[in-house]
């Protein structure tokens, strides 16, 4: 099997990684870079637990080869919070009770972040549409949707 030397920017830092051709981005993040916030759910692009942002756009990292990401920029849940602690989306989803077991949360957060990046005032329908690829077996989604609404509201308030 051929290995590939790739260079990726992960959460702002440049990483040089040696990956086999069949390694998914998810596996690279978890096993090469120890970023286990990205979860392995279905490995089939159905559940969204492995969602990360690839060049600013959400993708299922189980459906992307690591080698395809050479030269790209990746944001994982570990890169969401800053020095001051959790960001507004994280706080809002916690406040509204949108976290129970937490397995879907990293993916939900990144889908929500991408949604709010492209649409700062989403409707409820638009929120549902944006997280349809993130399955949650605990919350029934209502509280997650409320959390995203709250985040949108708080982010639109000028600092």
């Amino acid at each position: 099997m051929t290995f590939h030397n790739i260079s990726v920017t992960v959460n702002g830092g440049i990483e040089e990684v040696l990956v086999p051709g069949n390694m998914t981005l998810m596996k690279m993040l978890r096993e090469k870079l120890s970023l286990t916030g990205t979860k392995n759910g279905c490995s089939a692009g159905e559940c969204g637990a492995c969602t990360v942002l690839l060049n600013g756009e959400p993708v299922n990292s189980c459906m992307v080869l690591a080698v395809e990401c050479d030269g790209s920029s990746i944001l994982t849940v570990e890169g969401l919070s800053g020095d001051k602690g959790l960001n507004i989306i994280q706080e809002s989803i916690i406040d509204e009770g949108g976290v129970q077991c937490g397995f879907c949360t990293p993916g939900i957060l990144l889908s929500a972040r991408a949604l709010l990046d492209r649409n700062s005032h989403p409707t409820e329908e638009e929120i549902k549409e944006a997280i349809v690829g993130n399955l949650c077996r605990c919350t029934g989604y209502v509280r997650i949707i409320e959390g995203v609404k709250k985040a949108a509201k708080e982010l639109s308030v000028p600092a």
């Binding site: 099997m1 051929t2 590939h4 086999p20 051709g21 069949n22 390694m23 998914t24 596996k27 392995n40 490995s43 089939a44 692009g45 969204g48 969602t51 690839l54 756009e57 959400p58 993708v59 299922n60 189980c62 459906m63 992307v64 080869l65 080698v67 395809e68 889908s111 991408a114 409707t123 329908e125 638009e126 549902k128 549409e129 944006a130 349809v132 690829g133 993130n134």
Partner: protein, 316 residues
């Protein structure tokens, strides 16, 4: 069937050719163990499940022209093979002139998947359930293909041979799909019926396009294609024929939808029974035809919700 709790991709090598000729040559030299890689959303699942056993995936997304969407007022629309569904959905010219294509692209899977899945990949995968294929057929799509013997064009209407089977030969790489200019005043609708409102595969999908046409008795050319109800995506020519010959009304639309239901040959599977699909093919055909008919008449009372796959259609 046992469940593997830690499924992973089997061993394969990732090949990144310098140009399309090199890619085609590699595919021909490794028959049965290599395939072109675009979005990968179908390939990875089949490799993981052991359905396909390829040893090489040949990258094509970086090759010349693969990422382009171009519109030429004299030749129409060309969409490169690596263009993903979200780009199709958000493109202004596609939304203006080929809106059914954007609507069908938007109905596929989830936002994340649509950032990887491609329009051309949906076609080449040749699933009977392919959401965008009906629209591509009705818009008279033509595939541009490069193989080791050079380039050729393949019209979509004779491209599909069976579930997952197409006219593509070993070494063939689809580089783009081209659509001629739409007929003047063309309207379209894709109605998808899944187990959920969003994110699922279709149980039945109905694509309809219609345009004014003075050459036929009714004054309109209405065309209909069905997904998930036959071994290949199905264009029901009887619908076009009857709605060209007879004046269009709710009665003739129901008559045409009945012909669509008769034309389909569905299977029973986990998503729905054959009987249910046949019935729903009729019901959805009535709704889609009525929607397009009303739009053509400027009477459409629709609240088009861009973010809903089944844009709350009121049929009155």
């Amino acid at each position: 069937m046992s469940i593997n709790p830690h499924p992973t991709l089997p061993e394969f090598d990732y090949i990144k050719p310098k140009n399309i000729e090199e890619a085609a040559k590699f595919l021909v030299e490794h028959p049965g163990q290599s395939r072109p890689l675009s979005g990968g959303t179908d390939i990875f699942v089949r490799l993981r499940d052991g359905v396909w056993k390829d040893k090489f995936l040949v990258e094509i997304k970086h090759l010349d022209g693969m990422n382009e969407i171009s519109f030429d007022p004299s030749n129409g629309l060309t969409i490169g093979a690596a263009v993903n569904m979200n780009r199709v959905d958000s493109h202004p010219v596609i939304n203006e002139k080929y809106s059914i294509l954007a609507e069908a692209a938007r109905s596929c899977a989830s936002y994340q998947l649509r950032n990887r899945a491609t329009l051309v990949g949906n076609i080449c995968n040749a699933s009977p359930a392919g959401d965008t294929i009906g629209a591509c057929l009705l818009l008279d799509g033509v595939l541009h293909i490069t193989g080791v013997e050079g380039s050729r064009k393949e019209p979509l209407d004779s491209f599909f041979l069976g579930p997952g089977k197409t006219k593509l030969k070993i070494g063939d790489i689809v580089t783009s799909i081209q659509f001629p200019l739409p007929a003047k005043g063309m309207q379209g609708k894709y109605l998808k019926h899944g187990r959920n409102n969003l994110g699922d595969l279709s149980i039945v999908g109905v694509s309809v396009v219609g345009s004014p046409d003075k050459r036929v008795a009714s004054g309109f050319r209405m065309r209909l294609a069905l997904a998930s109800v036959a071994p290949t995506p199905l264009v029901v020519n009887e619908v076009e024929e009857i709605l060209a010959r007879k004046n269009i009304s709710l009665e003739t639309i129901i008559e045409a939808a009945q012909l669509a239901s008769i034309a389909c040959n569905p299977i029973t599977d986990v998503r729905g029974s054959a009987r249910y699909r046949k019935q729903m093919a009729k019901n959805l055909s009535i709704r889609a035809l009525t929607n397009v008919w009303k739009k053509l008449n400027g009477l459409c009372i629709i609240i088009e919700n861009k973010n809903s796959t089944d844009a709350g259609v009121e049929v009155r």
